[in-house]
């Protein structure tokens, strides 16, 4: 494997790994806070057990998120020293604030995990909420750093020099809002569906039904609200891309030729040689409308982008189709769930509903990874859009391929262990966390 490709793959893998745990870190504290709140309000011990069961699972994921994040902050330098040398002082602001957010998160987590029955109960509850808020804040901050790479601002680039650096302006770059918003909603959708699905499986197996139903409700409700908001925020993102990164938009849509009334292409196999998309559904004018809010405005095609500035079309296009396609499936599931909640209460007992949610377990995360592939691969060949090329940023050290193999092994084993641990956690629910279960061992404090 060539070193440049290895470096890109290693970066992509580490980020793709980290984002899963980061999303859990952003979302689960809120689920726990809801369950914890219900416990404090109703005194129902099942909610207390649920809060604890979740916090145990989250502790495992949290540690994995923390180590993979630590890894990333080194990796940026290990793999892209030239990038960090110039970009660090410009887009570093969110990272330095993120440090604070992490710190607060870690401290609040210390209070929350070890503070059962030790503090005033509402103080204890608040610490849980603070974990969530600071998790969200750190997510928003890093994504702001990433969107700077997409829409660099806060400096002037003159003769290869980076002048008049303004870190605050760089942090509030044009893309920060649309990207962070979309990311936060995606985190809720992805984690929500995964958690709801896991509990749905347990309900179908008739294990600790009350416990899992309570868990399912909290997760499913949050997930479905997020899924409905997703396309709206996706549209805002698309308008941002259209304005600031026409090359990426063209690649996402496999839009080879600039045209008025540009058509939205759904599915299809892009052929970069013939510059055509085969077997696709085309909706004339829709792309112009989605990108610019006007059916007739022309949309820049790849033919107007210099050849050496075009991103890989096929990957970007497929990834975009996967994200949007899955997004639509999640919208559908949400609509069904809301219908069940409001009109057809009988559906809530039906096996097919739980089957549907079980089927949706991985979908949110797949969409999330696909979305990141769109953003990151669609930015190529640039690491800082329009300013620095990825290949000029890579480390001069040879042999990165070996590092890629080693870290791949590590990440794969970690993922396997985490899944194994979580499934064990699920199996122990009856004994450890559900006070209504016959096997429950009543330990006041589960250490």
């Amino acid at each position: 494997m060539d070193d440049f490709l290895a470096a890109r793959s290693q970066m992509a893998m580490s980020l793709g790994f980290h984002i899963i745990f980061a999303c859990v870190g952003m979302v689960m504290p809120f689920f726990m806070a809801i369950s914890h709140y219900k416990y404090l309000k109703t005194g129902d011990e099942v909610y207390r057990g649920l809060t604890k069961a979740w916090s145990k699972g989250v502790a495992i994921l949290f540690a994995t998120g923390a180590v993979s994040g630590t890894m990333l902050s080194f990796e940026l330098g290990l793999l892209w020293p030239k990038f960090m040398e110039h970009a660090g002082p410009i887009f570093g602001m969110p990272f330095s604030l993120e440090g604070t957010a992490f710190f607060i998160e870690a401290i609040a987590l210390g209070y929350f995990l070890y503070g059962w029955d030790k503090f005033n109960k509402w103080f204890h509850w608040i610490t849980g909420v603070i974990v969530g808020i600071s998790g969200l804040a750190s997510g928003i901050l890093v994504v702001a750093a990433n969107s700077w790479m997409n829409s660099p601002s806060g400096f002037e680039f003159v003769d290869g020099k980076y002048l008049n650096i303004d870190p605050i302006k760089a942090m509030f770059n044009p893309g920060w809002f649309s990207q962070s918003l979309h990311m936060v909603i995606a985190a809720f959708a992805a984690t929500g569906f995964a958690v709801a699905g896991a509990h749905a499986v347990m309900i179908m197996r008739k294990k600790n039904i009350e416990f899992h139903t309570k868990a399912f409700k909290i997760a499913a409700l949050c997930a479905c609200i997020a899924a409905l908001l997703q396309p709206i925020s996706g549209d805002i993102s698309a308008k941002f891309v259209a304005k600031y990164q026409p090359a990426k938009l063209a690649a996402m849509e496999a839009h080879f030729h600039t045209e008025e009334k540009a058509s939205l292409i759904i599915g299809g196999i892009p052929n970069e040689k013939t510059q055509e998309v085969n077997y696709a559904i085309k909706l004339p004018g829709m792309l112009s409308f989605l990108a610019h809010g006007d059916l007739n405005r022309p949309v820049t095609g790849l033919n107007d982008i210099p050849e050496n500035e075009r991103p890989p079309v096929a990957i970007t296009h497929y990834a975009f189709q996967i994200m949007v396609g899955l997004g639509m499936i999640l919208v559908l599931i949400s609509l069904i769930y809301f219908t069940a909640l409001i009109k057809k209460k009988s559906w809530l007992e039906k096996k097919w509903l739980f089957k549907l949610f079980a089927f949706a377990i991985p979908l949110g995360y797949i969409a999330l990874e696909a979305g990141w592939v769109v953003t990151e691969v669609g930015r190529q060949p640039w690491i800082i859009y329009g300013v620095m090329r990825t290949k000029d940023a890579v480390t001069p050290m040879p042999g990165i391929a070996y590092s890629f193999y080693i870290f791949t092994t590590v990440f794969v084993s970690l993922a396997a262990i985490v899944i194994f641990l979580l499934s064990r956690q699920m199996k122990m629910v009856g004994r450890l966390y559900d006070p209504t279960d016959a096997d429950y061992i009543n330990k006041k404090i589960i250490p």
């Binding site: 630590t70 080194f74 660090g88 870190p167 970690l414």
Partner: protein, 335 residues
């Protein structure tokens, strides 16, 4: 503002070495405590570091962020020339953090515990060893920024006698810190004696490793002796460190755990002062005599301003919480 940033950088490195060091030391002591005491040691260690380990490794992240925002050239060249030891240290950090958490949170306690234990202990040694190697390599003058072949650019920059000795020295310091830290957590005389012995063994190790560092510096032509004893600050720092070591010995069995902890922490800070002061603000010394300095290779003033403010603001938020966290877990004994 640049001095504020440097102070934060230095402070977070110190805190990482002290708090994170005690944390690493926990694994090292576990490794070197026979089967008989295994469970006892594990529990004491968990009580001591469980609630704060997440916060501990934040110091490392803060230091890294300060480096790449404020001193990007330094960050870039360290991560280029010391890529390999950094990557190994990272593997250690990953293995350690996850093994520690998994062994505690695994819902079923079975043979997997042995695997977690092994990984945790081994990586507790590897990580500080490479941390020491990295620190030593930045100042050992072995980094060759003109090198063209793989070996001299990426291997000999860190693979040498001096760096290895500093690595061993760092491991010894960590074990020492952990032993001292845990003494305060013990609840009966038997345990206290056990960890007191461990602490004394660790001190011996620190002294031997220290001697090794000086020897290797001498043979590698690194003027370590001059750096430390060549100016007043260095001598004073070493004197104070020795003095506090004597005080520590006198107070071993007097039941004042916090005094012991303070003294041990103080010694580490003094060692760090002695080792860094004389070549400050240069923190990377290259083979050909070039150097990278915190003053000359800092980011522009505007970046420093915002970084400094972010750090100051952050500490206003964080410190009260952190102090209260430590306080409440120290004052209320957990079961």
């Amino acid at each position: 503002m640049i001095y504020v940033v440097i102070t934060f950088l230095w402070a977070s490195i110190c805190l990482y070495l002290i708090l994170g060091g005690a944390d690493f030391g926990a694994g090292i002591i576990e490794l070197f405590s026979g089967k008989k005491n295994e469970n006892n040691v594990k529990q004491q260690m968990y009580k001591a570091i469980g609630p704060i380990w997440e916060a501990n490794h934040m110091w490392l992240i803060i230091a890294i962020v300060i480096l790449f925002v404020g001193f990007p050239v330094i960050y870039a060249s360290v991560s280029t020339y010391l890529h390999i030891p950094l990557a190994i240290m990272l593997l250690g950090i990953i293995a350690r953090g996850t093994a520690f958490t998994f062994r505690h949170y695994d819902a079923v306690k079975d043979d997997w515990q042995n695997i977690y234990n092994k990984i945790f202990r081994l990586s507790s040694v590897i990580t500080p060893f490479f941390l020491g190697i990295i620190a030593a390599s930045t100042v050992s003058g072995k980094i060759d920024n003109k090198a063209t072949d793989f070996l001299s650019a990426y291997i000999f920059s860190w693979f040498n006698f001096f760096s290895a000795s500093v690595g061993i020295f760092t491991v010894a310091i960590c074990a020492y810190l952990a032993a001292i830290f845990v003494i305060g957590e013990t609840t009966n005389a038997l345990q206290r004696n056990y960890f007191t012995i461990k602490a004394k063994e660790a001190i011996l190790l620190v002294i031997i490793a220290g001697a090794l560092v000086f020897t290797s510096a001498y043979f590698s032509g690194i003027p370590l002796f001059n750096w430390i004893f060549g100016d007043r600050i260095g001598i004073v720092a070493i004197l104070l460190a020795s003095l506090s070591l004597v005080t520590l010995f006198l107070n071993f069995n007097k039941g004042r755990p916090n005094l012991l902890r303070m003294l041990a922490g103080f010694q580490v800070v003094m060692i760090l002062v002695a080792a860094t002061y004389s070549h400050y603000p240069d923190i990377i010394l290259f083979k050909n005599g070039d150097s990278l300095s915190l003053i000359n290779h800092a980011a522009t003033e505007k970046t420093m301003q915002s970084l400094g403010w972010a750090l100051l603001l952050g500490s206003v938020f964080i410190l009260p919480f952190l102090v209260y966290l430590i306080y409440s877990f120290k004052s209320r004994k957990m079961d």
